[in-house]
């Protein structure tokens, strides 16, 4: 599968490495050239030597998206540090370039939920953290109650 990931921070770089190691074609797009170093954490060879692609630019620029290969992408991951950027570029990938699989990382649970209902697939780390904390606290409280 050809996977395009926009936003190569902690999340994006980690997903990129894992997908590359699992045999997919991975193309990365980030406006900060320094993010390339983050991609290579823990790798024994340069990213490009392992078959990875890397482009400098933003997800709002058609030229950058095209250079990164969006026209042949099977999956698009919006993982920048901004919810608004992720929501806009995910919709660009879906509507303009008709990428079959589009996933956006959204920190704000309420908007993640609403956009999900509108057909933009969202992953909300905040929601995951809330659920885990709830269950941990609930469990602890249950034990305390018993004791």
């Amino acid at each position: 599968m050809f996977i395009l990931i926009v936003g190569i921070g902690r999340v994006g770089s980690s997903v990129a490495r894992t997908m590359l190691q699992e045999g997919h074609t991975v193309s990365c797009l980030d406006e900060d050239p320094e993010s390339h170093a983050r991609l290579e954490i823990g790798l024994d060879k340069p990213w490009e030597d392992l078959g990875g692609r890397y482009t400098v630019g933003t997800g709002l620029e058609i030229e950058a998206l095209t250079e990164a290969g969006i026209e042949r992408a099977d999956a698009f991951v919006a993982a920048t540090d901004g919810d608004n950027t992720n929501l806009v570029i995910a919709q660009i990938a879906k509507r303009r370039f008709e990428v079959p699989i589009v996933i956006a990382r959204i920190l704000d649970p309420y908007r993640a939920e609403w956009y999900e209902s509108q057909g933009v697939h969202t992953i909300c780390p905040t929601r995951v953290a809330i659920d885990m904390l709830n269950s941990e606290v609930r469990e602890a409280a249950g034990k305390a109650g018993e004791g």
Binding site: L60, N84, L87, V88, Q91, R96, D108, W114
Partner: protein, 230 residues
């Protein structure tokens, strides 16, 4: 606009603040939203309860501002992503029928259209339009653009060596899909008849299909330039 109209303005920069003030002066109900603490404090001294602190990208901030009863949402922050999403949410989630969004970078205009957010206002485009109008040598001025209807009205100054100068309107061979609608000569406008002879310095108004714009400008342009119209 007027009595009873409720408008939410997002972004209390120069545009938003002045807009909110003008709308209030005209008797509208207005809530201005600003997510920078210092800016909010400054604006609040003048607008008092008409300005609220918060990030309008967050749904609860819009809800607290009463978006469900808003007649219009105007997003004029300095961030295009914020503006487009605030209007998209206002329209699609809260069913606010009228939105106006500011486009800071004209290259992002296409994304506003893609997400169904219109109309948009771009200061860069407005100034470019004014430059075209103020400097007629610039060639042609778009007076009206209806891209979806595939129609536009343009104004064009005939150069001294225009191929169409000295030609009877009845003998013009304009590209298919274009029509001459009036002529401005020495400050006076009139609807030309078949006997009207075009002169250099005339400004012509034409209605046309945007796809034939290049053929049309070549036809009325300087002699020697390439032309499909003959």
């Amino acid at each position: 606009m007027g009595e009873g109209t409720y408008v939410i303005v997002v972004g209390a920069g120069k545009v938003g603040w002045n807009l909110a003030r003008e709308l209030l002066d005209k008797g509208n109900e207005v809530t201005l939203l600003e997510n920078d603490r210092d800016r909010f404090a400054t604006v609040e001294q003048e607008l008092e309860h008409n300005v609220q602190y918060g990030d309008a990208s967050e749904l609860w901030v819009l809800e607290r501002a009463g978006i469900s009863r808003a007649d219009m949402v105007i997003a004029v922050t300095g961030d295009d992503e914020d503006n487009v999403l605030i209007c998209q949410v206002a329209k699609e989630k809260y069913l606010c029928e009228r939105t106006i969004a500011r486009v800071n970078n004209p290259r992002n205009k296409q994304w506003f259209e893609l997400l169904g957010v219109k109309p948009v206002v771009s200061a860069t485009d407005l100034i470019l339009r004014l430059i075209e109008h103020e400097v007629p040598e610039y060639g042609l001025v778009h007076l009206l653009d209806l891209p979806e209807q595939r129609l536009e009205i343009i104004e064009m100054l005939l150069p001294d060596d225009s191929k169409a100068a000295g030609v009877r309107v009845g003998d013009l061979e304009m590209p298919d899909g274009s029509l001459l609608i009036s002529v401005l000569r020495e400050g006076r406008g009139f609807v030309p008849g078949p006997e009207t002879v075009l002169e250099p310095g005339d400004e012509i108004l034409a209605v046309l299909d945007p796809t034939v714009e290049e053929d049309l400008t070549a036809y009325f342009g300087p002699d020697g330039a390439s032309s499909d119209g003959g």
